[in-house]
Subunit: 146 residues, 2 copies
Amino acid sequence: MLAKSTEYAIRALVFVQLRNWEGKRPGVVEIAKEIEAPPAFSAKILQTLTRHRLLDSAKGRGGGFFFNNEQNELTLYQVIHVMEGDACFHRCGFGLKSCNNDNPCPLHEQYKEVRDKFFEIVQEETIQALSEKIRKGEAVLNRGIG
Amino acid sequence: MLAKSTEYAIRALVFVQLRNWEGKRPGVVEIAKEIEAPPAFSAKILQTLTRHRLLDSAKGRGGGFFFNNEQNELTLYQVIHVMEGDACFHRCGFGLKSCNNDNPCPLHEQYKEVRDKFFEIVQEETIQALSEKIRKGEAVLNRGIG
DNA sequence: TTATAAAAGGACCCCGTTGTCCTTTTATAA
DNA sequence: TTATAAAAGGACAACGGGGTCCTTTTATAA
Ligand code: FES
Ligand code: FES
């Protein structure tokens, strides 16, 4: 459903949030290890996120990644949007060049329902909400470390 | 959501069904044109489908593709299964190595719902049902041809 | 003020999916 | 029985997403 890099991005942001709540600013190496992603690739993804201002970073000794604007939450949709665009929310499930209510493919009704439902989810759900679930021990960020 | 080749496969099968109902057995060239896919690639996909006996074919002059066992309908799930496997129905939406009810990621509840819903759809829906919609003019196989 | 630690950035590579081309096999029409 | 039309199959090419490596910039601690 989502691109691998988008999944890495979401997990990375969740981990940054968790560490921020502990007063820490994790760096690329720590993040990569925790989200089980290649360090160099994680760096690229974090770059993309900071370039689009979804995340802040500090260079130099003692630097790392953190959220500056902690007032407004970050939706998964915002993350998906900058990482891979929103084509997947508008594609035709049957493979036609576009989805069109007025000239539907034979899968339109059924496909549209799940596609729109997923769209709703990512618009409602936020990095902070996911992080909170993990903080409370209701969900995990990874399996098999520690 | 689905691989491009899977979408081609589904559209190809629908077209074959439509032509079969007209008493015709379309060939690769005709199918490729109608589903708007590259002919050589369509040939590969049709090969895969016949090798797995989802479709029958006749070689030689006057040959083409057709359904032999018209008694039992062909579900979209069967097509997906031979074309790309069923990993997508079991993946974790958060990118963990596996989805696990007992040790869930923070997206599990919401993601599982849409994933399972899509799974239901492709298990219920059949090539014949989609074809029938098109035959009745309730849906289209393509846009921009004739 | 210098050594060090960290992010930013550019250039590049790898591999799976998508897609092409050519030859071989098989059946039918003439 | 031969020419032709069609699917089957093998080998390979192209493209994009995922991934690596190395250099440059920037900040801080000593
Ligand atoms: S037209 Fe195919 S999903 Fe809407
Ligand atoms: S554990 Fe992530 S979707 Fe089930």
